[in-house]
């Protein structure tokens, strides 16, 4: 199946670390709103569908044993119990991705299937991802490029993913905790025979975002232009593999963890999506 650019564009919104359930996640609503605003403010009409990619229930299922254990240990002390369970929920999501467990594979397979469902129906698609979700998104895009069935050089109708947006990504961090490399550097898959077309990867980051800087206290990153940790770590590799990695340093009036969640309300993300899909 080939992409038909006259059909509705599809956007998949991939969330990051969560403490809720799939049903509570509103990443798709946020992206839909940004896109609608961008189009309506410019008085233009384009057809699109935004779908969320949710994997929190898969993570929760994998952490069930630890959550039961936490309940048992903290029985009679609900506040401590709540704290411990939240900690397990959050750190468990990160460990799952870092250790590349069978749960992580399950998540990647689900995302790959969701992307290919759109592709097999002829829709162009862009992936927007946040925080930990950027790792799954990058892995799946790389995986699809390595698959010989897709990405036939400059022919963008053979591209199941037309571009990637990452927001508040920890991909630039090199953290080693007791021998576990938490965000190990990914190898970037090259698109063979692409002379004019590059895989666009737009990375949005806030200098005060602790997930981007790796500084728990949220101290700002010192920048050169728009090159943050992700651009420094992946810039050379992406250039060598027919990718276009563009960093975008943003501000939000927020600090620390609130800077990490503010991307979902940044109108520039909506404008960038419109450009990537139709511009």
């Amino acid at each position: 199946m080939a992409v038909d650019f006259t059909k509705d564009a599809h956007i998949v919104a991939v969330h990051g670390v969560q403490v809720s359930e799939d049903a509570d996640i509103t990443s798709d609503d946020s992206i839909r709103k940004l896109l609608k605003n961008s189009l309506s403010k410019s008085h233009i009409d384009r057809n699109f569908e935004v779908a969320g990619f949710f994997y929190e229930d898969i993570n929760d299922e994998a952490q069930k044993y630890y959550q039961l254990l936490a309940s048992a240990i903290t029985k009679g002390n609900p506040l401590v119990g709540k704290g411990l369970k939240t900690f397990i929920d959050l750190s468990g999501d990160v460990v799952t991705a870092a250790k590349n467990t069978s749960t992580a594979k399950k998540i990647r397979n689900k995302l790959r299937k969701q992307i290919l469902d759109s592709y097999n129906n002829g829709h162009q698609l862009v992936v927007v991802s946040h925080s930990l979700g950027t790792i799954y998104a990058l892995d799946v895009v790389n995986d699809l490029i390595r698959d010989n069935n897709f990405f036939d050089g400059d022919d963008r109708t053979s591209w199941p993913v037309q571009g990637l947006i990452t927001m508040g990504s920890p991909l630039g961090l090199e953290i080693d905790i007791g021998g576990l490399r938490v965000f190990e550097k990914r190898s970037i898959a090259a698109i063979p025979d692409a002379d004019f077309e590059l895989m666009p990867w737009h990375n949005y980051f806030n200098r005060l975002d602790p997930v981007v800087s790796g500084n728990v206290l949220g101290k700002p990153i010192n920048l050169r232009g728009a090159k943050g940790p992700v651009e420094k770590r992946y810039g050379a590799d992406t250039r060598a593999s027919q990718w276009l990695l563009q960093g975008h340093a943003v501000t939000s009036g927020r600090q620390w963890i609130r800077a990490h969640t503010a991307y979902w309300r940044n109108p520039k993300i909506g404008d960038q999506l419109v450009t990537m899909l139709w511009g």
Binding site: F5, N37, S38, K41, S42, H43, I44, L79, R156, D195, F196, E197, L198, P200, R207, L208, L217, G218, K219, P220, L223, R224, G225, A226, L244, Q246, G247, H248, A249, V250, T251, S252, G253, R254, Q255, W256, I257, R258, R265, N266, P267, K268, D271, Q272, V274, T275, W278, G279
Partner: protein
């Protein structure tokens, strides 16, 4: 126990909020669409100013400037070249360069539009006083010029017609909640 925890959570929240003021910078102008009609356009970007939670002053700008065109598709000017980088629209898939900039700043059509590799060509730039602008040049009251160099046959709304466009003086607004730029299409 509960009160201590609550105090801690409230303290951390206040602490983390700091006193940063969020600003939106904007400038509006008229551009010519590919169908030769005049359209309103707006460029915008954001900035933070104020004190961080640990009492350090902070004044930072977004790295790039976004342009919205009434009836057209948005474009982003990103810093390119030596740090801090001149603001440019880097070429997108299917972009064709239609005009070039002469040494004296005049914009002249190319005999044949040239196909550009994604990200490797310049399809637009911002100038202040006839010099390529970096983000810090775009201060309040400056009147920027936007130069468009490309078209895209896949979607005629992709770029305004190649040329040089004078924009109005840059303004700055303090943002409380809604970060969306003004409704420039309907502006008087």
């Amino acid at each position: 126990m509960n009160i201590k925890l609550l105090t801690f959570i409230v303290g951390v929240s206040v602490f983390a909020a700091g006193c940063v003021t969020h600003y939106r910078y904007e400038s509006t102008g008229m551009v010519t669409s590919s169908s030769a009609t005049e359209s309103r356009a707006l460029i915008y970007w954001f900035a933070d100013e104020g004190g961080l939670w640990y009492d350090k002053d902070q004044a930072v700008l977004d790295s790039d400037v976004t342009m919205r065109v009434c009836g057209g598709l948005p474009k982003t000017f990103v810093p390119f070249g030596e740090d801090p980088g001149n603001l440019q629209i880097r070429s997108n898939s299917g972009d064709l360069q239609t005009v070039r900039i002469e040494a004296d700043g005049d914009v002249v059509p190319l005999p044949e539009p040239g196909r550009l590799r994604v990200g490797e060509g310049t399809c637009g730039q911002i100038e202040v006083s006839r010099k390529q602008a970096v983000i810090k040049d775009l201060i309040v009251s400056v009147e920027p010029e936007i130069i468009i160099l490309c078209k895209n046959n896949r979607d005629p709304a992709s770029y305004p017609r190649g040329g040089r466009y004078k924009f109005a003086a840059v303004t700055r607004t303090t943002i409380k909640d809604d970060r969306e730029p003004a409704d420039f299409c309907n502006a008087e």
